[in-house]
Symmetry: C2
Subunit: 351 residues, 2 copies
């Protein structure tokens, strides 16, 4: 608090007013030029731009934010501890997409971790202060209060992976249904007839959609529905082991398994090996995520790839639109904004 007057009369940064004086125009005109308004004559624009260059003028963000009630910043909120963030390529890819899409914008990206309760507290404060124009929410759990907080604060937000079919927030998702279908169709084309599915946590919407895709692919191929081939997992390796053991016991004749995640597939693989089933000879295996695990598995795992980087880009697109027509989310009614991106089956030796 000591020396408030550090901004010396002379050494201080130039203001709009000074630029205006220099260019021999009014304050409003300079503002228009700065903000790219078309209602400025070419001559005036040139004069102003010259003055800006000469003075090295840079707009004062705080003043702009105060007057215009916007911050030109958006936050990428990661409700996870830093560690996970660094260890999962998901985030790195996402960040790359987000960054690239943002790079021809004036928007600034803030990275905010909210893993601990303390950090969440701070985040809530931060959002309440409206220090960002919008929020990108990745990897939210079903019971997370954050989305509702954002709605309540009327802060534009985009969520990656809708929480349900009736998600109210704008969302970006990969085509879980289509991804599952392509995995199953692939197995069918390889001549497999008894294809099992180890699901993800069924309280996760995406996991549901994968089950739907699995079911429909089989049905459309003329297979009779057989729920004994479906066993619930939870995205974990242990869950994969458990489910695989159960499946083998229940349907010893399975000749293929579609797992809802690579990690789950890894668990399943382990049990298959123990029971003497060869992959892919006896049982073909397909995972989901195309993670490092898939590439390094023995044999390498066929897996469904999600276009994470592209999803990041799509999230920014949606968010910028939301911000542009800054209608409170609640009043938007049914016209929900969402994007669903195609997945890609990466074929490897496991199938």
């Amino acid at each position: 608090m000591a020396s408030h007057g550090a901004r010396g009369r002379s050494g201080g940064r130039p203001t709009l007013e000074e630029v205006a004086a220099r260019a021999g125009v009014g304050r409003g005109t300079v503002s228009r030029v700065i903000n790219g308004s078309p209602r400025v004559s070419d001559a005036t624009r040139a004069a102003v731009e010259a003055a800006v260059a000469e003075l090295g003028y840079v707009p004062n963000t705080a003043a702009r934010a105060l007057a215009a009630n916007r911050t030109d910043a958006i936050a990428l909120v990661v409700p996870e501890p830093e560690t996970r963030f660094f260890n999962e390529p998901y985030f790195s890819d996402m960040l790359k997409g987000v960054g690239s899409e943002l790079s021809d914008t004036e928007m600034q990206l803030l990275l905010i971790f909210a893993g601990s309760d303390r950090e969440r507290q701070r985040l809530a404060q931060y959002l309440a202060a409206h220090r960002v124009d919008g929020v990108l929410l990745v990897s939210v759990h079903a019971d997370d209060p954050l989305p509702d907080l954002l709605t309540q604060l009327e802060i534009p937000a985009v969520i990656s992976g809708p929480r349900s079919a009736t998600e109210t927030l704008a969302s970006v998702d990969s085509d879980n249904y289509g991804g599952a279908r392509s995995a199953v169709e692939h197995l069918l084309s390889r001549g497999r007839g008894r294809i099992a599915h180890i699901t993800g946590r069924l309280d996760v919407y995406g996991a549901q959609r994968r089950v739907d895709g699995y079911r429909d692919a089989l049905r459309d191929a003329g297979h009779a529905a057989d729920d004994r081939l479906i066993e619930a997992g939870d995205f974990t390796e242990e869950g994969g082991r458990r489910a695989m053991a159960e499946l083998l016991h229940r349907c010893p004749d399975v000749d293929a398994v579609f797992a809802a995640s690579d990690v789950t597939a890894a668990g399943a693989r382990q049990v298959l090996r123990e029971k003497g089933r060869r992959i892919p000879d006896d049982v073909a295996l397909v995972g989901y995520d195309d993670s490092a695990i898939a590439r390094h598995m023995d044999p390498p795992l066929t897996s469904v790839r999600q276009p994470i980087e592209e999803m990041g880009r799509a999230m920014i697109d949606l968010l910028l639109t939301e911000i542009a027509d800054r209608r409170p989310a609640a009043s938007r009614g049914l016209e929900r904004h969402q994007a669903v991106l195609a997945t890609e089956l990466v074929e490897r030796a496991s199938s």
Copy 2:
């Protein structure tokens, strides 16, 4: 730009003025309470705090920034592409330290990548706009213009790893000299007598200091200086190979090598193996950084660990001090602010 008037008369966020009215005091008094000034009577303070709570008042950051000429935000600038950031645990550890030290502050941390030219451009704009109160600079190269830009803009900054002994910016470093000494002393205590050193890039200050530590440790142990035991490397694996080959050729009797980085040590190890030297039986090996490489090497590599997380904390401490007594860096004269943290030798099977 369409609807500026989104802040409705009633639904808008409460202002200082409204809190003041509610508490029956003046604007200045509320400001004092908010900012924790001691010159407020207990009764008044209580009344104001009640009003704040009732109204759910949250200060408007933009207004505060404009009036007080500060942003309450600092940036962690990473002059690397995202990829490196995610793959090196260095950054993750650093971030952890920084985050924890910042968590009982009002300061907000921004993570800014400046790997590409384009991103650097944006960063320069960002800094010129003084959108942060201070900057943490990690992993700067010797010829990076960023530090000078910061000095010129009079933005408080702390650099990790000073560029030279006369670094003008505040800096945090690990004790390269002491780390090198401990490595050499360790080798001496293991009975090694012909200890070689593969240096880092000698235009990096820290690498110089490691050479100094190596030299002094030997001298203090009564060994005659022998520069043939020193070979220049460049922190890379290839450099390590090259240097090791040269050393073996020049001094076939070496019985220990202290490498300036784990990666360099990995290169050296490769050549030692090729030449039939056993580690540690024939030649002991010590690296620097205690990275994943060290743990996974065969045999596991003894290495000097730097307290990265602690360094992050120290950087924040320094930066906050710099910001607090916001005297332009130039006027600080000789009283340079710097911290040097102790290293730790992690002993493994390679020595």
